[in-house]
């Protein structure tokens, strides 16, 4: 009977494994080496700050990140003065004043990231009808998360001869259907990094994905740190409870 059970349990595990392997339909993007991978992973602050620079100078022309506030940037190592300066570099509409007029004022750290367009219709009108996605949760909101976004940003190619491109669309290796409305946003030397890092396409993509991953999951480091402690605690507790259980049951005749 034991062998029957082993057989069936084995089959069950095979079914479960097959299910997780075949649940995805898109070709899996290549795995990248991220600083935040693994149980002890953290965000590479320098890369995330370079990534924010790219968001600010390139992506934010079209893409909002309306779930983030400027003070959140302390999470990737900006200090208070830097955050104040970043926030103050945009003009945002103030509360109505005593005359009931709404005037613009410089941004404050508590303001949400300023969106490039007033509303979705304006964003579509400026982008050939396509709506640039809000990037606040883009990494968590896609299968394969950071690997997918990286593959997408580095996946622009000239279309193969047999592919007929729709008007205003660009060929992308990773995008489902291969036709994407976003023009290739990153190229070599698209930005000038303040820290002297050479701005190659793959470096830029790596940096902006690190930034976007942090934006999607800003508490990853807390989660990992607390998780490790919780597991150590539970392992010790389990050992103690096991010994208690054995001691209790040893009174009983076996």
């Amino acid at each position: 009977m034991l062998s029957l059970r082993a057989l069936l349990v084995g089959a069950a595990i095979a079914v479960a494994a097959a299910s997780s392997a075949s649940a995805q339909e898109m070709p899996a993007p290549a795995k990248q080496d991220w600083s935040f991978n693994g149980a002890f992973g953290t965000y590479d602050r320098a890369a995330a700050q370079r990534g924010f620079q790219i968001y600010r100078e390139v992506c934010s022309a079209c893409h909002a990140m309306s779930l983030l506030a400027y003070h959140d940037l302390s999470g990737i190592g900006y200090n208070e003065a830097e955050i104040k300066a970043i926030a103050a570099s945009v003009q945002v509409p103030d509360e109505p004043n005593d005359q009931g007029e709404i005037v613009d004022r410089p941004g404050r750290p508590s303001d949400r990231f300023k969106a490039p367009f007033a509303n979705e219709k304006a964003a579509q009108a400026a982008n050939n009808g396509a709506l640039p996605k809000d990037l606040s949760l883009i990494v968590r909101g896609r299968p394969y998360g950071p690997d997918y976004v990286y593959a997408l940003l580095t996946g622009f190619k000239d279309p193969p001869a047999d592919v007929k491109m729709a008007k205003g669309m660009y060929y992308n290796m990773q995008f489902p259907g291969h036709q994407i409305a976003m023009p290739p946003p990153l190229t070599d030397d698209r930005v000038q990094y303040a820290d002297g890092t050479k701005a190659t396409l793959s470096q830029e993509a790596h940096d902006v994905v690190t930034f976007l991953s942090w934006a999607s999951d800003p508490h990853l480091e807390d989660r990992h740190r607390i998780g490790v402690r919780v597991l150590i605690y539970l392992a010790g507790l389990s050992l103690v409870l096991y010994l208690v259980k054995r001691k209790v049951w040893s009174k009983l005749q076996h």
Partner: protein, 422 residues
Amino acid sequence: MAHTTAPSAFQNPVIRWVDERLPIFTMLSREYGVFPTPRNFNYLWNFGALAMFMLVAMIVTGIFLAMQYTPNADLAFDSVDRITRDVNYGWMLRTLHSNGSSMFFAVVYIHLFRGMYYGSYKRPRELLWLFGAVIYLLMMATAFLGYTLPWGQMSFWGATVITNFFTALPVIGKAITTWLWGGFAVANPTLNRFFALHYLLPFVIAAVVFLHVWALHVTGSNNPLGIEPKSAKDTVPFHPYYTSKDMFGLSIFLIIYAVIVFFIPDYLGDPDNYIKANPLLTPVSIEPEWYFLPFYAILRSVPDKLAGVSLMFGAVVMLFLMPWLDTSKVRSAKFRPWYQWCFWFFVLDTLLLGLVGSQHPEGIWILLGRVGTIYYFGFFLILLPLLGWFEKTLPLPASISESVLGGYLSNSKIAAKAMEKA
């Protein structure tokens, strides 16, 4: 008129004072202290306590989440994001709760399969089993309602697909669905009532759990041998024997829960739910959480909507009928060689249906879904009634202690002990 208080066995004056007026301490001691429990439980008997733990964990985390959540179609998605981003330890509360539903279902499924394997649904525990099935049904409703609340793409479209089941009902289907929605589509009124019901149902579950445990304490627990305890030798007091064992089991369970919560919090979820609900944009594939996949496969195994919906609900009804479909007098599968095969194939069948439910219904998956559905119902409606009739069961041991202790105690000694107690 002089009232006399009931005598209490407790020495502590405060406990004694309360106990004489409301014998709650006597009751706790009787039901959870000295409660005679079969001595031969394996670790599968931990899962009832684990399910109880998960219910409490879900209610506690849920109440704290509700303090920060906004049940409004325009604000819900952002409010959930604010919980994970800005609320102190909100990320932990949320992932404990969202992954908690998976852990709750995993525990309950093992609890349920354990009951099926060892015949825990059989006389005199039919009502106990029925309460369990009601809890499961309420859990499914609660989980579905809760999944709608973050108002992501999968929340919205999942709610749309599930509520559309009711349109399959002839004549009244459309009216019922409109009434459920509070409008002509899943929208703000739907979210409002789903939140209200999601907050209500866990307390209904708690009430039925109370009945479930009450019924358990009337019949006593089943055990791996499926024979009733015959003497004091067959049982041990619940405390400290099973309290210590349950605590150890809980600690191991918490390790698995913690690994998911702290290291792979998105593994069981759908990335689409990090995209705000958009009624104009249908996701590429709409797929329920893993714990509903077998039912989803059964639903899609027939091309007719009403038939599919009926089969899906029928699959749950089978659980309610199980005590009367199984005609065998022997409880534990240990002594039922044929049933054992059928049971393990049933387990495999539910896993297969789960796999089918996660695939696009095309090609081989349609056939597999149909075969799986036929076995699912065949197990309940054909195998269970027939097995009791022709299966040759193995001889049952004389008592639990004889089986556990083997050669240590002879039957006569046990009989002598039993006489002493009696």
